[in-house]
Amino acid sequence: MSAKHTHITDVLIVGAGLAGERAAVEAAAAGLDVVILSLVPPRRSHSTAAQGGMQASLANSAMGKGDSPDVHFADTVKGSDWGCDQDVARLFVEKVPIAIRQLAYWGVPWNRVKAGKYKHPNGMELEDTKDKEGLITARNFGGTAKWRTCYTSDGTGHTVQYTMDSVVCKMGIAVHDRMEAISLIHDGVNCYGVVARCLRTGDLIVYLAKATVIASGGAGRLYGASTNAVICEGTGTAIAFDTGVVPLGNMEAVQFHPTSMPPTCILMTEGARGDGGYLLDKNEYRFMPDYEPEKKELASRDVVSRRMVQHMRKGLGVETEYGPHLWLDIRHLGRKHVWTNLREIANIAMNFLGLDPAVDLVPVRPTQHYTMGGIRTNIDGYAYGLKGLFAIGEAACWDMHGFNRLGGNSLAETCTAGMIVGEQVAKYTLGAAPAFNYRLVDDAVKKDEERIANLIAGKNGKENVYELRKAMEETLNEHVHIFRNGPSLETAVSRLQELHQRAAHLGLRSSGLGANPELAAALRLPGMIRLSLAIAYGALMRTESRGSHAREDYPKRDDVNWLKRTLAYWKAGAELPTLDYEPVKCTEMPPGDRGYGEASARNAASKEK
């Protein structure tokens, strides 16, 4: 057997979420041939699930008055706990208003400003002015000084993805769905494309391109319990990691969202708190103001998640057979608001737990939500380590999020980075000559064929993919979660190492023929365990607390030693990632107080003394 087909194109995009499609449009507009690969039809990508919105400082709504890219920049840097690249954050905040307006031009039905006085469900009296009527409005999200999150009711990701996909359709860009990239074709210097496995037939297909762009989304499913869709397994990131020359940035920076609904871990959008929702404990007491008098429920996500765990550790969570949880209370927002502006979450509570949030409390607890780390790129989206390779979106560490992403900044990143990096990809590709080494391609295909044949024959052993996978998920959930410490992280690293060794001996129980799902899982798992190791080992070595990375044994941010980004490499045959570090650019705002969170509370306390 050899590859069933070979496709040659100018630009190959791995991922049809928002980042991938936006970049594809930019490259196609430059006259290039573009092919997009995706595990699923584009409109089923995880981006569709984003409910809340997208941050851009349009300053149209009453509570957005006075907003500007500068204010957005400061919020983003504080949110990142000074872990982000400030040049990238600056570029992003300047461009995102254009990206949002372009989406309006393409067809996104953004909610608009209605002039007049009104009472916000949170009780505030507000007035939207006549001069702004009909412009794009915004809602409140955590960690922001202004109301800046543009939205379409409860379906922002849906409408933006459908609109982007309509442009992809209109431009006739080729999308090959149910097509999974399983390895990169490269020679250690250049990237030439990917080997993919067709999820309809099981055939191997080769894609050769002058530029390859990884836009494969996050890796939340490494944790098992995650708000992410089940396809967010980080495989695009893993195939770049596997080259040994492309580093992953800050994989230890993992975001936990305060409000996911147990036991299924479906997200209750931050919009619920933005619109005035409360968090209550088992006594139905609103506890957040005690911890965060200033921002209350709307401090940044890392802070709210930690406060919730802290509160549950005091025994104030609601005990259930699947662990403790707290309550989300949006009853006071009123039935109309709940079932119009927050309809999606009302539906989820109703469908999955039979609860009506207009009258019932909804159980919530913090859960893995976002992968800040990813394929490290420069400001133009070029991946470190391989020429002709780019990365964007959640799969990338472009690094505007540092150690904590603000709600609404990720969807905004996908389209803005798609626009900016898409242009750079086009520029690069127009100047690149096709040079494919067929020997190299053959070798890459043979390697994947051999992996598949061995799994089917059980040549290396009979380890069960689902068992190992579960053990990996449990390890991360138990030891590399919201609060971390040295001994626990060491346990995680050694368990994951053992699982990695065992994963070399996977064998299928089914035939593996055709588009067999067990084979797909077995091909993914070793790479997923390597990503887990990058998270756990990076977390063990980072002896400070910053943003979402909270070490109980090193509770303070340490700017003297740790104002730097982790770069993890996976060298061939290694048992652990090799870690390297690079300085973090603080070009505009030197490290300081975030204005919320534990450090801020400490500062306030010492001032009082």
Partner: protein, 242 residues
């Protein structure tokens, strides 16, 4: 109280395997509290039969991947709780769509074809000006666009539609609703006559026989009945003027 034993009968057929034949296969499973078919099917795959094919992505009734015939009705499997079903459950793939294998069908290709045929994108001569403010729109219009836009392309309405089951090219309620979304959008400059070209025919609005099985089966309550009636009226009028 002991948990129910579920008997789940699943359609099996992998068209890529030369010797495979369509058949029903039965799995026994103990019900758990709050169990959805997403949980049940994954349990079957992980513990009983790793070759079983089905599609889930969001598992939250948002992405439209997991529609299947559940005891004869097209529904989203991820939001179907087993406690709402009898202990004997029969799962079949959606009709109309091409079978990928077992319970997985190719709704993606079907809907892509629909987008292309109905040119489901904003048609305008205007260029985007990156320096200008966005065009104004009143919020009511934005909400009116969002209503049909909410469709998640799950295919339930298509599977339940008599016309779609016999006419391969019928665009179904989802297709007509998609066109309605652009008709209410002031940014789309197509005239009624141009829309008539797209849906004013037997594969579009005039192929619909109005029995409204579609409306009942939409898992997210897109108001198909009113959208279909609106498009039909508008196109009938446009037809008179042609």
């Amino acid at each position: 109280m002991s948990n129910r034993q579920l008997k789940i009968s699943v359609f099996r057929y992998n068209p890529n395997l030369p010797d495979d034949k369509p058949r029903m296969q039965e799995y026994q499973l103990e019900e758990q509290q709050g169990m959805t078919l997403f949980v049940a099917l994954n349990k079957i795959r992980e513990e009983l039969d790793p070759s079983l094919m089905f599609d889930f992505v969001c598992r939250a009734a948002i992405c439209g991947s997991c529609a299947m015939m559940i005891n004869g009705k097209p529904r989203l499997a991820c939001k179907t709780l087993t406690k709402d079903l009898p202990s004997e459950i029969t799962l079949m793939p959606l009709p109309v769509f091409k079978l990928v294998g077992d319970l997985a069908v190719d709704t993606g290709t079907w809907f892509r074809d629909l987008q292309v045929r109905t040119e489901a994108w904003v048609h305008t001569d205007k260029e985007f000006d990156s320096q200008a403010l966005e065009d104004r729109m009143d919020n009511e219009t934005a909400l009116a666009i969002y209503e049909p836009e909410r469709c998640i392309e799950c295919g339930c309405c298509v599977a339940s539609c008599v016309t779609a089951n016999i006419r391969e090219d019928f665009i179904g309620a989802a297709g007509i609703n998609r066109v309605a979304r652009f008709m209410v959008d002031p940014r789309d400059k197509r005239s009624d006559a141009q829309y008539f070209e797209v849906v004013g025919n037997e594969d579009g609005t005039f192929g619909c026989v109005g029995l409204m099985a579609c409306d009942d089966s939409c898992p997210i309550q897109v108001p198909l009945e009113s959208q279909l009636a609106w498009v039909r009226r508008k196109m009938a009028l446009a037809g008179l003027k042609l």
